[in-house]
C-alpha cells in the first residue's frame, strides 16, 4: 500500500470511529425525544420505528393537562425551578464571600479551610441522608421545598467556593489597590471593581449549582412526601412504580426536564473540565 493510500484509509477509519461514538452518545437521547412524539401503536411494538411516522403531541399535552400523580407537570417544573433558583441565589452569595476570603486574604486556618472544603466534597451525600432527614424534620421542614433548598445549599457550597476562588484570584489585585488609593471604601471596591470582573465566573459556578439542584433525586425522595411538593426527578420516578409504564408520557416529561440542563451544559462545557480536574490539566 502506498503511504498516501494508507493515510487516506486511516482517515476513513478515524471518521468511521467518530460516527460510531457520535451515534452511541446521541441515539439514547434521540430515542427519548422520538418516543415522546410517537403515538402509542408506534411505541408498543416489536418493530423498529426509527422516526415517529405520525408524530403526535398527545403525550406532551397529557403530562401538562392530566399530569402525573394527580398534578400537572407545570407544578413539578415550578417546584424544581424554585428549589434550584433559590439554591443558586443563596449559595452564590455565600460562595462569593468565602471565595473572596480565601483568594484575597492570607490568614490563619486558610489552608485548613481549603483542605476541609476538599474533604467534605468526598463525603457521599447518600451517607448523610439519615441525619439530614432527622434534622430537617426536627426543624419542621419535612415535606416542604425549603427543606430541600437548605440541603441543596449545603451540598453545592463546597464545590462552588472551590471553583469560584480561582476566578477571584484571577482578578489583578492592582485594580482594587487603585480604587483604594482613589478613596473608595472597602464595599465600593468590592461592588464596583471586583464583582463585575468575577461575574462571569459567578455565572459559571451558578450554572453548576443549578444543574446539581435541578437533578437532585435522593433527597427529593426522602424529604418530600406530598405529590404536590414533588420536584421533576421525583415526579419522573413516580412513573416507574406503576404496573405498566406509560413510556410516551415518561419520555415527554423526561425530555422537558432535560432541555434546561442541556442548554446550560453547552454554555459552560469548557469550565466543566477545568473546574473538576482542578490543577491536574495545565493548558
Amino acid at each position: 500500500m502506498t503511504p498516501l493510500a494508507r493515510k487516506r484509509l486511516a482517515k476513513y477509519g478515524l471518521n468511521a470511529g467518530a460516527i460510531a461514538v457520535f451515534l452511541f452518545a446521541v441515539f439514547p437521547v434521540y430515542w427519548m425525544v422520538a418516543t415522546a412524539f410517537k403515538p402509542n401503536d408506534e411505541i408498543y411494538t416489536t418493530e423498529f420505528m426509527p422516526v415517529p411516522l405520525s408524530p403526535t403531541l398527545d403525550h406532551v399535552e397529557r403530562v401538562f393537562t392530566k399530569g402525573v400523580a394527580g398534578h400537572s407537570i407545570w407544578e413539578y417544573l415550578l417546584n424544581s425551578a424554585i428549589v434550584a433558583v433559590t439554591t443558586v441565589l443563596v449559595g452564590a452569595v455565600f460562595a462569593l464571600l468565602a471565595a473572596t476570603a480565601v483568594a484575597r486574604f492570607r490568614f490563619r486556618f486558610r489552608t485548613s479551610f481549603l483542605v476541609l472544603l476538599l474533604i467534605v466534597q468526598m463525603v457521599p451525600a447518600e451517607a448523610l441522608l439519615i441525619p439530614l432527614f432527622l434534622m430537617v424534620r426536627r426543624l419542621g421542614m419535612y415535606d416542604q421545598l425549603i427543606g430541600l433548598i437548605v440541603v441543596n445549599i449545603g451540598l453545592t457550597l463546597p464545590f462552588s467556593v472551590w471553583m469560584l476562588r480561582t476566578f477571584v484570584a484571577a482578578v489583578p489585585k492592582d485594580l482594587e489597590e487603585a480604587a483604594w488609593i482613589d478613596g473608595a471604601t472597602r464595599f465600593t471596591t468590592f461592588w464596583k471593581v471586583l464583582f463585575p470582573l468575577v461575574a462571569p465566573g459567578l455565572v459559571a459556578t451558578s450554572i453548576f449549582s443549578f444543574i446539581t439542584a435541578w437533578n437532585e433525586f435522593v433527597f427529593a425522595l426522602t424529604l418530600i412526601n406530598e405529590t404536590s411538593n414533588y420536584t421533576m426527578p421525583r415526579a419522573l420516578s413516580f412513573f416507574i412504580g406503576q404496573r405498566s409504564t406509560d413510556w410516551g408520557g415518561i419520555m415527554a416529561a423526561s425530555t422537558l426536564m432535560t432541555i434546561p440542563v442541556l442548554v446550560f451544559f453547552l454554555l459552560v462545557q469548557r469550565r466543566m473540565v477545568s473546574g473538576l480536574v482542578a490543577g491536574a490539566v495545565k493548558g
Binding site: N15, Y44, F94, A127, I130, G154, L236, I240, T258
Partner: protein, 309 residues
C-alpha cells in the same frame, strides 16, 4: 472592622452552612451508628431517647449476608464501570484529538448531550432501551443470525427477554447507563490534556522512529498521568455511591435485595418500615470510610498541585 478580621467575617456564612449541613450530620451519623434508633426513637410524639447499643449495629452489618452481596456489588460495579469509562473515554479523547475541526466539534457536541442527561432520565432511557417487549435492544438482538446468537448467548429468540428481574442483568443495564453518561467527561478531560502536550515531542518521537503504541506509552501516558489519577479517583467516587440510577433501574424499593449496593442498603434499612436508622447509619459509616480511604490520595494530589498553602 480591623482588616485582620475581614476574611473571618467573609467566611462565617459559608462555614456555618458547612458545619451545620455537612460536619454535624457526619458526626450524628457516627453517633447513631452506635445507637438503637428505631420507630420508637424517631416518632414525632414523645420519642424515646436513643439508647447506646455499643457495636450491635456493626455486628449485625457484618453478620448479614446482605453485607457481602452489597459490598461486592459496590466494589465490582465501581471497578468495572470505572475501568470501562476510563478506557472508552481515553480512546474517544485520543480519537477527538486526531479528527478534523468540524468532525471534532460535532462529536464533542454529541457526547455533551449524553453527559447532560440528568441521572433520573439516564435510568429511564436505558430502562426503555432494555424493555422486555418493546425495547430496541431485544429487537436488535433478534436481528443477529440465529447460529451466532445461539453460539454466543445460547439462545436465538430475544422477544420478551426481561433484563430487570435479576441482579446480574440489572447491573449490566446499569453499567451501560452509567458508562454512557460518564465517558464524555473523561474524553473531554483527556482531550484538554492532549492539547497541552507540545507537538515538538511527538515530532521528535516520529523522527526517532517511534510508532503509535510506543508513543502513547512513552510520551502521552506519562504526561497525562496527573489527569488520569484525578479521573480515576473521581470515577471511583461517583461509581461507588451510585444511587439514583440503580434505584430506578432496579425498580425502586421493591428491587431484589441481592441487587443492593451499600448506599441503597443503608437507605432501605433506614427508611423502609420498620425503620432502623442505627443500622442504616452503620452501613453509611462503612461506605464513607471506604470512600475516604480511597480519595485520600486525590486530596493529597490536589493539595500538592494547587496553591492551597
Amino acid at each position: 472592622m480591623s482588616p485582620k478580621l475581614v476574611p473571618y467575617a467573609l467566611l462565617i456564612p459559608g462555614l456555618i452552612v458547612i458545619a451545620a449541613l455537612l460536619l454535624y450530620p457526619l458526626f450524628q451519623m457516627v453517633v447513631m451508628s452506635f445507637q438503637k434508633v428505631g420507630l420508637k426513637q424517631i416518632r414525632p410524639k414523645n420519642p424515646v431517647p436513643a439508647e447506646w447499643n455499643d457495636f450491635e449495629n456493626y455486628t449485625t452489618v457484618l453478620q448479614s449476608d446482605l453485607f457481602w452481596t452489597s459490598l461486592r456489588n459496590t466494589v465490582v460495579f465501581a471497578v468495572v464501570t470505572g475501568a470501562l469509562t476510563l478506557v472508552v473515554g481515553t480512546l474517544v479523547g485520543l480519537l477527538l484529538n486526531r479528527l478534523g475541526r468540524a468532525m471534532s466539534t460535532v462529536v464533542v457536541v454529541g457526547i455533551m448531550a449524553a453527559w447532560a442527561v440528568p441521572p433520573t432520565s439516564q435510568a429511564i432511557i436505558w430502562k426503555w432501551l432494555f424493555d422486555a417487549d418493546s425495547g430496541i435492544i431485544n429487537w436488535a438482538l433478534n436481528l443477529l443470525p440465529d447460529w451466532l446468537s445461539s453460539l454466543v448467548f445460547g439462545r436465538s429468540d430475544w422477544s420478551g427477554q426481561p433484563w430487570l428481574n435479576e441482579p446480574l442483568t440489572i447491573y449490566l443495564v446499569l453499567v451501560m447507563a452509567v458508562l454512557w453518561a460518564s465517558f464524555p467527561f473523561v474524553a473531554v478531560s483527556v482531550l484538554a490534556g492532549l492539547k497541552s502536550i507540545p507537538s515538538e515531542l511527538y515530532e521528535a518521537a516520529r523522527v526517532d522512529g517511534s510508532t503509535g503504541i510506543g508513543t502513547f506509552r512513552k510520551i502521552t501516558f506519562p504526561l497525562l498521568k496527573p489527569v488520569f489519577s484525578v479521573l480515576i479517583v473521581l470515577q471511583i467516587i461517583w461509581d461507588f455511591k451510585v444511587f439514583t440510577q440503580l434505584f430506578l433501574i432496579a425498580g425502586g424499593t421493591n428491587m431484589p435485595r441481592e441487587a443492593f449496593n451499600l448506599s441503597l442498603w443503608s437507605y432501605i434499612e433506614a427508611f423502609s418500615p420498620p425503620p432502623d436508622m442505627g443500622l442504616g447509619s452503620a452501613i453509611a459509616v462503612v461506605l464513607t470510610v471506604v470512600l475516604l480511604l480511597i480519595t485520600f490520595v486525590y486530596v493529597r494530589q490536589i493539595v500538592k498541585a494547587e496553591d492551597v498553602r
